[in-house]
């Protein structure tokens, strides 16, 4: 079935891509001969495995990158965009895969940043705009709130709000839902539907088949930089899409529950404050045993971030005790805690997980640089670093052209794989996994799930913090619900009462 559109001038297309090819200076062909039409007023989902070229495609439509060959038509007219401003003038706006908000700035300041076209800043006008748009979106946002103090779900909404404060007709959304909870996704989709009914065109990249099926009108699947197929959503189902995205996807393995042993991590009534000095973790106690995965469920912003930071030594514990492998690690240095066996996959991968400007080999060695074979007597053995990088790149199927390439040139999902590779390979006995599969394609997610289970079977304890409830239910031996800085409920995945779990997450239990 060939349903490739042929007439670029047709007025129905908001975006028409004709034979677009993009090769990066290092020789990676990210997009090859892409021909694709996005209809006006449709929600068009783009699926594809990590490194398939989705982000690259959107970045060309938004004027950040220039195609090597091919032509882009906007509203039927050939558009030669030199920079994002040109795209913006054509009514194109993009929400990037990784946050582009300035964390130290408030919501208002971040919005002002894109509105200040005339060079003159009228904060009253900015506020009015924020109020107007947030009301239209049906969300509540405090213009005074600092971005770094907002949970990721809120940040994502601010990204979109900022886009809508400008006058955009075409929205390019690169994995906007990857860190949202199901509830947040629902309200996010409501916003998308409203936008659609007000005539906007939306291109949405996602790895979640369910979401694509739920929200989109048509779906395009990319693989290896080429369009595999475009199908109307009504004619697609999960199995079909999955088979288009990755070849030979094995059936997910049966998850056997672990056999918990002795406690590895014990937390005894700790109190932790957030950046603004308010109590975020309020007398919480928790035990994670060897060979056990404990899932933390909860709406973002209920102290999960502060809890994780307290365990990993990145945030002060006001009172209470944390022990790891029967050693007191309360307010010890991160270095000490890592030596006692902590591995940690952070949710904020771009700011905490990797140094973007450094090489893959440098980033993979972050936690073992002081140990042989990476270094001896302070002298680094580069050969070992590169060997190690090459090994992990192939073990974890990271798509990279060279083990020393700078991490900023990896695709989002591959950066995530790199972090996972590092954290699962340093021999830790206790792992904190925050959103471990955010941004990973279905195959890679399965692999990571399997690896977490293997790690548990080898006797490690895992604390899984995820907004993806399905993931928590699938992997956890025990689910703790966090609300208002406390554990308010404990559930077991067998005979799970979802109703009660959801109520607990909202603090109503």
């Amino acid at each position: 079935m060939d349903n490739r559109p042929s007439d670029p001038k047709k007025e129905d297309y908001a975006i028409f891509l004709k034979e677009i090819t993009k090769t990066f200076p290092n020789g990676t062909v990210a997009n090859f001969g892409i021909t694709l039409g996005i209809l006006k007023g449709e929600v068009h989902a783009i699926l594809g495995e990590n490194g398939a070229g989705k982000t690259t495609l959107l970045r060309m439509i938004s004027g950040i990158l220039k195609p090597d060959s091919g032509e882009i038509f906007i509203d039927g007219k050939s558009a030669k965009m030199r920079d994002p401003m040109d795209a913006s003038r054509l009514g194109i706006g993009m929400v990037h895969q990784h946050f582009t908000l300035i964390p130290e700035f408030t919501v208002r300041e971040n919005v002002a940043l894109v509105l200040a076209e005339s060079g003159w800043l009228d904060l009253k006008k900015v506020d009015a705009k924020i109020v107007e748009v947030s009301e239209k979106m049906g969300i509540e946002i405090d213009p005074e709130a600092k971005i770094e103090n907002l949970p990721v779900g809120k940040r994502q909404l601010v990204e979109i709000l900022r886009l809508l404060c400008r006058d955009v007709k075409i929205l390019l959304l690169d994995e906007p839902t990857s860190v949202l909870t199901p509830i947040e996704v629902d309200s996010f989709f409501r916003i998308i539907r409203d936008l659609k009914s007000s005539g906007k065109t939306i291109v949405l990249v996602t790895h979640k088949m369910k979401e694509a099926l739920k929200i989109s009108d048509r779906v395009t699947v990319l693989r290896g930089g080429r369009v595999i197929r475009t199908v109307p959503t009504t004619e697609a189902d999960e199995a079909l899409l999955a088979s288009l995205v990755v070849e030979g996807l094995a059936a997910p393995p049966v998850v056997k529950r672990g056999t918990p042993g002795d406690p590895i991590l014990s937390i005894d009534s700790i109190i932790v404050k957030d950046d603004r000095g308010r109590t975020a973790v309020d007398g919480l106690s928790l035990v994670v045993r060897a060979g056990e995965i404990v899932g933390i469920a909860g709406v973002a912003g209920n102290g999960q971030k502060e809890l994780v930071e307290a365990i990993s030594g990145l945030r002060r514990v006001e009172s209470g005790i944390i022990t790891l492998s029967s050693q007191d690690i309360t307010n010890k240095s991160t270095r000490f805690i890592i030596e006692k066996g902590l591995s940690y996959i952070p949710e904020d991968r771009m700011h905490r997980g990797v140094v973007l400007t450094m090489g893959i080999h440098d980033n993979l060695a972050l936690k073992c640089i002081e140990r042989p074979p990476m270094s001896k007597n302070w002298v680094i053995d580069r050969r070992s670093m590169i060997n190690y990088a090459e090994r992990l790149i192939s073990d974890f199927s990271i798509k990279a052209s060279d083990p020393c390439m700078s991490v900023e040139n990896l695709s989002g999902g591959n950066i995530q794989k790199l972090i996972i590779a590092r954290e699962l390979s340093n021999g830790g006995t206790f792992l904190i996994a925050e959103q471990p599969t955010a941004g990973l394609d279905i195959k890679a997610s399965e692999v990571v799930h399997q690896r977490l289970i293997d790690l548990r079977s080898r006797g490690a304890g895992i604390l899984l913090v995820s907004s993806d409830l399905d993931e928590i239910i699938k992997l956890s031996d025990r689910i703790c619900v966090m609300f208002g800085g406390k554990i308010v409920g404990e559930f077991f995945p067998e005979n799970l009462d979802l109703e009660r779990l959801s109520r607990a997450m909202l603090g109503a239990e």
């Binding site: 991160t334 270095r335 905490r352 140094v355 450094m358 936690k367 302070w378 680094i380 020393c404």
Partner: protein
């Protein structure tokens, strides 16, 4: 592995930035020379001759290069860590003063020289340790503290050479001369080219090794690029920031004492014509890369020395040195946004 040694994109970029800054500096200087009725082509020929014209001039340029290079190699390390040490000038003076006192105190000989060099380096270290502590313990911005410590240091040294350590046999405020037997050896007879110059050159591969091949260099890089990742990775950020700042102090102090032991033989108020500040321009121009810094030091030294020939031959003020240094500084700082603008316009593809 092999393509690691091919010039990377980042390196290419910084080379283009440096060349662009140099070019613009010469261009603007030319305009100013033209306005004062001086033929710029002729002026730059004089300048070149003044710097490299014969073996004597060449060795003088190398002598000038040495303190600049030592200072800027140290600054490159702290800048890599994104620690802005503006206080090398003061660290240099304190190092020179303390080293000189020790050299005179011990008397002549190799021991005296070695002790002087060591104490000079430690003097720079201590002077940098004050702002380093204030930064790490109290969170006070080092730009301000290091800069202000310059004045404290320089005036302190001036007081010392005016009163307690003033040479009894001269009219000017200056210290006594260090014993001749403890001075740095002349390595090219008939010139002032001394062993210190060779030591400065030897520092280039040493600093390169330190930054590229040791865990310290690795940590400095990580902290400079993203302190949050460093903290997460178990690197003690405060310690690295402290270490990189005092390390630049050590080299500044060393630059000061080698200048005394190799060239001036005593501490005067005019010991350094602003090497501590020149070092900032040099480190930035060389993109904090030891090799780039080495080349930039020679370049700046050549401008300094060449300008005196130029000033004498064409009767223009020596201020041309400061003019060019200032322009260079501005253009180096402006080159990044400028290059990005060119890339955005598609003029340049890197």
């Amino acid at each position: 592995m092999s393509d690691r040694y091919v010039v990377s994109r980042g390196t290419k970029r910084s080379i283009i930035k440096a060349l662009l800054s140099v070019l613009l500096t010469f261009a603007v200087t030319s305009v100013i020379l033209l306005m004062s009725n001086v033929n710029p082509v002729l002026a730059f020929i004089y300048m070149f001759q003044g710097a490299f014209g014969d073996i004597n001039l060449l060795s003088e340029t190398l002598v000038r290069t040495s303190p600049i290079m030592v200072v800027s190699l140290g600054l490159a390390v702290s800048f890599k860590c994104k620690v802005w040490n503006i206080g090398a000038e003061g660290q240099l003076y304190i190092g020179a003063m303390l080293g000189t006192i020790v050299a005179i105190g011990i008397g002549g000989g190799l021991l005296s020289l070695l002790c002087a060099l060591f104490v000079g380096a430690m003097g720079g270290l201590c002077w940098a340790a004050v702002p380093a502590l204030m930064k790490v313990k109290l969170g006070i911005n080092e730009v301000i503290t290091t800069f202000l410590m310059n004045f404290v240091g320089i005036y302190l040294v001036q007081w010392m050479i005016s009163y307690p350590f003033r040479s009894p046999d001269t009219y000017f405020p200056e210290s006594a001369a260090v014993p001749a037997s403890s001075a740095l050896m002349i390595i090219l007879p008939g010139t002032r080219l001394h062993l210190g110059v060779a030591l400065a050159l030897a520092l280039v591969p040493i600093i390169y090794f330190l930054m590229e091949r040791t865990t310290f260099g690795y940590k400095v890089n990580v902290v400079g690029e993203n302190p949050e990742v460093a903290r997460y990775g178990g690197i003690k950020v405060g310690k690295i920031v402290f270490a990189s700042l005092i390390f630049s102090g050590v080299l500044a102090g060393l630059a000061g004492i080698t200048e005394v032991m190799g060239i001036q033989y005593r501490v005067r108020g005019s010991l350094s014509p602003g090497y501590g500040y020149t070092g900032i321009v040099v480190a930035l121009l060389g993109n904090n890369n030891p090799l780039g810094v080495a080349l930039s030091s020679i370049f700046l030294a050549a401008i300094m020395n060449g300008s005196s020939t130029l000033a004498w031959a064409m009767n223009i003020p020596m201020g041309i040195v400061d003019l060019m240094q200032g322009l260079l500084f501005i253009f180096v700082l402006a080159s990044e946004p400028f290059i990005r603008f060119l890339e955005g316009r598609g003029v340049l593809r890197l």
